[in-house]
Symmetry: C2
Subunit: 257 residues, 2 copies
């Protein structure tokens, strides 16, 4: 059955559009979302009234406001995955000096939901909320490896974008890699999304033994030499076990993001 409330769905999509293009006006957003100006105007009116959006009356542009911010804070605080991962990410960050991230799968994309950034000496292109593909990079490949059959098929049979010479764009090779990931429970990837970057990643399970997320350590290739990676993997697995224990602990058997 479909119980979707259209107006609500539209409001949520508009909020996300606004998140991607802050300080835009009614027409701009109407263009982006495909809604009529009237509708966008009214949605924004309602969102503003409730404090989720602010209007700049001089420039007549809208942006997300503090209620959206605080809702997000609450969501983060209440998330089992995040609260379980937070201390372990700090630990990993301290131990490795690399970027540490937690990613989840959203449809055919990976999304970074938590991140510890390495120092500015090894600036890696990563941000909370960033979407990426599923076929390139350590975290994404873990998510893909353990994704439901139909998702894996969809990705494998789609055009696999090439980011670097190392990106796996051959479905057969990629599928073989996924088999290995499922067998081993970890993956090391090198320069698949970015030339000089490599990562080690493992899955985080919920209590149903479903993969709820991927935990990854990412660093500049020269600062994370092959010899180091085995050690990083050990640290990662230790952290992963602790997180999985907490995430699955509730016993409901459902991934709580």
């Amino acid at each position: 059955m479909n119980y979707t409330i259209l107006a609500v769905e539209r409001a949520l999509l508009l909020l996300e559009a606004l998140a991607e293009m802050p300080d835009s006006g009614v027409s701009e957003l109407a263009g982006r979302t495909g809604y009529t100006k009237t509708l966008v105007f009214r949605l924004l009116f309602t969102l503003e009234e409730r404090g989720f959006v602010t209007k700049d009356p001089v420039r007549r542009t809208y942006s997300l406001s503090w209620r959206a911010m605080l809702l997000g804070d609450q969501a983060r605080r209440q998330s089992r995955l995040i609260s379980a991962a937070d201390p372990q990410m700090d630990e990993l960050h301290r131990q490795t000096g690399c970027n540490v991230s937690v990613q989840i799968r959203d449809g055919l994309h990976s999304v970074v939901v938590a991140l510890r950034r390495a120092g500015q000496d090894q600036r890696i292109y990563a941000e909370v909320g960033r979407r990426g593909p599923l076929h390139a990079g350590g975290g994404p490949k873990v998510l893909l490896a353990f994704a439901p059959e139909d998702i894996r098929q969809a990705v494998l049979s789609s055009e696999l974008a090439r980011y670097t010479p190392n990106t796996m764009i051959d479905p057969a090779r990629l599928d073989a890699a996924l088999v290995m990931i499922r067998r081993d429970g970890w993956v090391m990837s090198e320069g698949e999304l970015d030339h000089s970057t490599c990562s080690v990643a493992i899955p985080i399970y919920d209590s149903n033994s479903e993969v709820a997320a991927a935990l990854a350590v990412t660093g500049k290739t020269d600062l994370l030499p092959p010899g180091e990676r085995g050690h990083v993997l050990d640290l990662l697995r230790e952290a992963g076990t602790k997180i999985t224990r907490l995430v699955g602990a509730h016993g409901s058997g459902v991934p709580k993001i």
Copy 2:
């Protein structure tokens, strides 16, 4: 004119209800919001479909999900006030070792929108998202002092809750205090919300010279002795000037929260 879209308004209120009582079911939320169970069910259905809410099918409870979280992250990143205040708050936190907070006014309440927590030795009851009164505490009193006339009247003529013996519950005394705050541009409060806590607070202005927020340093009374407070005020004003410069800088003349 009223262009409110009812369904959207309801969805937003439901989201906030869910933020306050995570892991609740349809009936529970219906009770809380006053909506019918059918409506709550459908709103949740829509919110879940869009990834703002997760359902635990075993326990049949709902919670905020990662899209709400990421929307909040974006809102925080895009907020001029927050991005201007963040480094200054870090600095103040380092310099004073006390709690540092940014608060804004929402109707007749104060809300903490950013916070740096002091070490566990002086745990102070403070959390991002927490709502408080406008008549007690440093930050709140600053917000009240510079609030529009009608808001001030509403608060002054309402029953002023007493939290400690130090809470100002006499409207005349409170009003006199507000006059002083407007004259001086700062306030020191002691044990108004909590016996052993005191704070120093100043306003943050937008480019219209409207008060957009309050910046406060809060500490245990014994760790922030009267002799120290003058120095804290100096640091606070320095930080405040820098924030105000950035917040107002855009020139649109509108408080961007």
